[in-house]
Symmetry: D2
Subunit: 295 residues, 4 copies
């Protein structure tokens, strides 16, 4: 199978590396030098335009910041649709939104071209180790066909439902992460102000019913240490919360906790800026509490 | 050491059993027949009043629904304080509130009598297996003295800080559980309405960054199955959220997510009644969404 | 000027009556019998289709439940666009959403056809008395041209800004009303439970800084009396809150109070049904409080 | 009647002036110089201690920042209770909390001494003009006795219920004001960002159903003008919101809008400081929105 990979960002690049070691790969990236360097290093071909990248490809993978960028690649003389061959499958690994994905799929559905949304979870290290979780939306037959490509970088590949389902599940996952980080920061800020060691508090919580990924990993490693490494931007988590909140509204679900948390991240994004890491949300609670959650 | 155990509820009874197999035990319970039956079965003594129960005890353990009930045992001719000997330590395993505990401790501090708040986590099964997590507030020397008693039913025993710290940490843990259950129910309700299988969604989330104890254990075992076993009352979780919210306010921490969630559980408690299990909170979101999270 | 009026609902009908007494009017309504009856009674003409209704009209007024219905009239062989003449102005009095209005305006802008969004405030009685407030979005020159028509039913006509501005201001107004009703109900429920007469409480509040239209008019006349007349559906207020909330999100404004209130009305709409009046929101707070705000 | 007035703050001082022109008055103030200056100017007597101030007084009026300060005056050799004569009535005009007032009343009730909570509304200008609204909690007979004194500074005097009812109604009034200011700022920030003039938006809203005291007076006069005069501290409004929120919790009322707004003001108080005016809450929304609501 010939594969095209569009979007060599922090997550996309190591994913593409795994694909390159098993399949004939053409890459494209907005900053073209990155695609050229990648091609030289990993025995791939670098294309100058989306159209050129997808020509001849059986599987086209996109991995971009938002669905808007994916939709932005489709049209025009140099666009993805101008080059996509019959029978090709477009696999969108972006953390996108279900509605846009359904719109993109509808544009392809008139032909034999297929669409799968396939956002990933596991971060840069999961991408590097090829152990990502991939949540898919689309038809089973289409997933079966592209599965060998996804298996080069994914360990757990789950078909969640029709087109959009992968993006919806991903958005809900992210929204829960956002809620967990916020609520844990609130609780820990109060404990710290009362003189309780957050290290001890987390030790207990993590052996109890209130534990979550945020209390077990993110907060001890990044907040208590004050390291706050920049691995996943708060701006992107805010976008994901927004997708989940919009999804809940579209489905007619009253979701006060998700909606409120989304508002709080929106304000935080403005306060902390576009480059802040998602775990820096703790700093907003620290500021309004006048304390520091330091281990 | 002589031990007294006051409060043989769903959690207290199996805890008392573990104590009885290692120490000389006197028990008291509001419904006296329960204490008498326990005494006969486990070689303990049943007392008619709190005062009688604690006479001669080196360690007095209370395990009641709320701090209010604990404070209610202290006074009067038959009260706990009338019988407590010098040098005794009162260990309150109730999921109580920090402020009341500090008030109780202050009443004991004038003598050689000591107080430790020591709420537990792990549920009925943890109590039965003697593997509870115990989060303590008080002086290290006091904990050292009573530790052998706590070790009969606890596996992880952590001194979190001064008197009240145990109750504060427990309340925060419970509040996080409450937030996690609510937010996960919101997200899952939207996914179900969009046609996504909640079983698949949880499989993915639990392999991703949004996982928590609620998504890994409670929701798959109790909501998806529609089993909703009654192991821990929603009314008590609502009380715990209220304690955490009040604690945050006392510490001057702006905690919108905790406070909002507390309000939502308050309304849910009225809707579902005093006997509903805490996981039944999902039913409130199901009702306002017009769907069912069924696996 | 020839005028067309599409949508003879509870508000639209009395508005159309005022237009008919000053201008040559053609009406259209989804249930055609209503248009026919109106035409006979008020000396107007009834059209069978939107296209027929707007043919020859200088000013076309639409007054429908939501922007979606307005957009739904545009296309097709019998659609509004098929009949709209050059130089005509489409005045949308629907409580619509800014984004859809901008989309509609963009479809007209290629020709000499013009668009003004012009939602009204004042309810059925304001429409009957011709004293509505009309909040407009569009170009000043266009408003000047249609103003004589609007003056037949409006007393205060304000150009708020470009296309969409009228709908945005209306949505914010409605959202504030929704917030006021909810917050006042919360406060009054607590006062009632404490034994305070809500009549006296409102008497004081309305002489103080917390007064608003809801405390001065709606709650005394409709809640305290238990009359709850059905004048404006809660389902429509929920829709308006949703428009305001979406508008705030689009503008990048973190609006936790508006967003939370929107979620609460969404749940209430499901609970109370499509026919409930907006003031019945008080019943939701009464139910979760176990009390009644009765004067 | 002999009257004592304790607390010559921004509101208390003009109130005391009205009392002095009709009754024999003794005043006390924490900063004694203020009482001395007042006494000289207005023909009153200045006392050195609360005990001395209330000796011989038939009516004792307190007007302090919070109930805590009132309770703090009661005890000790120089305390209010040491001087209060039999048959005296303590009228607390503080914006206090119902629970503390009930506790104070309980300490008086053993004798013939009576308590009325009587917080006021109308601000500094209402106090100066003697047109305050006074919301009372207590017994009708007691109010009848002190009414002549209250009438010197109050225009509308309402007995809302038993002791604490006045403070509860006042707190709810203030909480509504707080909600109104917050929600209006959210909506206006979005409108401003969309290019709508806030002056026009308010003109329309104030002729429509979403109007309130905040949109009619405070925001046009203080926000649009950027004047932000400091007449009532945000810290005190945050305290009032906290009283209302606690009152709702005590009454078992789920009040998500009040509780969330309280949290938002708590964070704002930390951000804006103790001296900020309550209307400056708009600046918090402006900051998180990146805009200015300027008329």
């Amino acid at each position: 199978m010939n594969v095209a990979f569009l979007g060599l960002g922090a997550i996309g690049l190591p994913m593409a590396r795994h694909v390159a070691s098993h399949f004939t790969l053409t890459t494209w990236n907005r900053t073209q030098s990155k695609a050229t360097a990648f091609a030289q290093q990993h025995g791939a071909r670098a294309a100058a335009t989306p159209r050129e990248a997808v020509q001849g490809a059986d599987v086209v993978i996109t991995c971009l910041p938002t669905s808007k960028e994916v939709e932005g690649l489709l049209d025009g003389a140099d666009g993805l649709l101008a080059g996509l061959k019959d029978g090709a499958t477009l696999v969108d690994c972006t953390s996108g939104d279900p509605t846009t994905s359904q719109r993109i799929a509808a544009r392809l559905a008139s032909s034999t071209q297929r669409f799968i949304d396939a956002p990933v979870s596991g971060g840069v290290s999961g991408a590097e180790q090829g152990t990502l979780t991939i949540m898919c939306g689309g038809e089973e037959a289409d997933l079966t066909r592209v599965r060998p490509v996804l298996e080069t970088f994914g360990k757990k590949i789950v078909l969640c439902g029709a087109v959009g389902a992968g993006h919806a599940v991903k958005a809900v996952n992210q929204a829960l992460l956002g809620v967990h980080l916020y609520a844990a920061s609130e609780g820990l800020a109060a404990l710290v102000k009362a003189g309780v060691s957050p290290t001890l508090a987390l030790e207990v919580i993590n052996a109890s019913s209130g534990r979550c990924n945020a209390t077990e990993n993110l907060i001890p490693q990044r907040v208590l240490t004050r390291a706050f490494p920049r691995t996943f931007r708060l701006a992107l988590l805010e976008k994901d919360l927004g997708i989940a909140a919009a999804f809940a509204r579209t489905q007619g679900v009253s979701a006060p906790v998700l909606q409120l948390t989304t508002e709080l991240y929106r304000a935080a994004r403005r306060e902390l800026g576009e480059e802040a890491d998602h775990v820096e949300i703790a700093k907003v609670i620290e500021r309004t509490s006048g304390t520091e959650i330091r281990g």
